[in-house]
Point group: C2
Chain length 283, copies 2
């Protein structure tokens, strides 16, 4: 029976999306995972009543969280994704020819199962370079013998099992788990929602403490609260806006053909421009 | 009695905002103008059931439509605003010290009245440089004896009285109404909504025909459909990304103090970076 999905995200402000039918609904040990068939956005996955992705808009989030990191690093071979169970981030990472090994550490196997069943074009799970591990990302990074070049924090919002992904201890461990030129990116909520400012300050404060360089960047994600989404970039020194990186983006993108719909050289740089009201939140 | 305002903007996708009470509701000869008191966004104005602005987020739209134009022009003295009845665009234009005369041509006096009554901080209507004319913008530009340096098209969506503001004839007249270094900006809907692509193509096609240079730029507007809003820039030759303009932005902003919350030098340039899927709509 068709109904309107409603997600309140800022006081009494919400997103409403028409749903034709519920394709997947499971209360897992961690959270409630649901997939809806919609009129406008293809199939849409929610976790605990919050939109994670739709088939029509997922390219923005996945391109922006993956390529800003993978192009900033000069030669990413080993990549760790914390969360990312839908598979979209790994799919974008695996487009980089240098990447040899991707570990995707997803706490909840139901997310992967739902994505494979109802969003078959989002993940690239048959790729032999991709290793899916059903573990807690927080403890996974405790002691990493074989370090990573890139770590991507693709967790859900800071209210469920992902809450500790927004804290200092976790970022200290990520720093230790990264190789010499290591780069990290992660999702850090909407600057328009006052209720998320504390989490954003927590992440950016922690990154500033743990890393040599950290910055915020932005992307337009229509089904996320307010449509403005922030992401974090941190590194052991590589500046994503350096001419070296920009040249790498330009050269590297030549081999990507038309597979990207959002990320490009201009967007790479432009996404780091912050409106004054956004700067104020994290400075 | 509190209720949820709901605006469907893309098939069955919509924005829902909690309303405490209706402050203004009038069916004018042109459209239905309403102002709601909300929990989260201050007072919010809608026209024909579409959000025009809220007190909390209006700064984005008004800063971006005004300053990109007024900083690109080397010395804007005379400015024409078509629409803009809430007064926010004029307020931002009037922050430029060179501006001597602003004509605001609003078809519907009820918009100005509603704004003065219920959004007193949006307009700067007592400014003696501001001249409010209740006329049809479309015919106003027919024969302009005293030309304008900047024209800003601040109309509503291409479904009501603003529909002709998206057509070739209008932009030809605007070109004729502009002085030698003339610059024009205008609002051109969300790239995420397929139903608006035809209007966007119409505007950008017309601007390409009529002007020497035209470009699209983007802003994050949380209460507009999908949160991604496009704007048009066109000129008689001035490139908004030239080093001359960027230098002017930097020098000029020094006198603005902290009055701007969105627009800055980085944002000026970054807003012209377009994702591939947006470029495809207008190319």
């Amino acid at each position: 029976m068709p109904f309107q999905y409603l997600e309140y995200y800022n006081g009494t402000t919400g997103l409403s999306v028409g749903v034709n039918k519920v394709l997947f609904s499971e209360q897992t040990p961690f959270q409630k995972v649901e997939v809806y068939e919609t009129d406008t956005w293809g199939n849409l996955m929610t976790i605990d009543g919050m939109v994670m992705l739709s088939e029509k808009d997922e390219f923005v989030y996945h391109e922006m969280i993956a390529h800003v990191a993978c192009f900033s690093h000069p030669n990413p071979k080993r990549v760790l994704i914390i969360g990312g169970g839908d598979g979209g981030t790994a799919r974008e990472v695996l487009k980089h020819p240098s990447v040899e090994h991707v570990d995707m550490v997803e706490i909840d196997e139901a997310v992967v199962r739902a994505s494979k069943l109802h969003m078959p074009n989002v993940g690239d799970f048959s790729n032999p370079k991709l290793h899916v591990l059903y573990e807690n990302g927080l403890t996974f990074v405790d002691d990493i013998p074989n370090k990573y070049d890139v770590i991507i924090i693709d967790g859900s919002d800071p209210v469920g099992p992902a809450v500790d992904l927004f804290k200092q201890e976790f970022y200290d461990k990520c720093y230790a788990a990264l190789s010499e030129n290591g780069v990290l990116t992660g999702q850090t909520e909407s600057p328009w929602v006052p209720g998320y400012h504390e989490s954003m300050q927590s992440v950016f404060g922690a990154l500033k403490n743990a890393f040599d360089l950290s910055k915020m960047y932005l992307a337009f994600i229509p089904l996320y609260p307010t449509g403005m989404w922030s992401m974090a970039y941190a590194s052991k020194g590589i500046d994503p806006l350096s001419s070296e990186v920009i040249e790498r983006v330009q050269k590297g993108l030549a081999s990507f053909g038309s597979s990207l719909k959002y990320y490009n050289k201009d967007i790479h740089t432009a996404s780091f421009a912050l409106p004054g009201f956004v700067r104020e939140i994290i400075e």
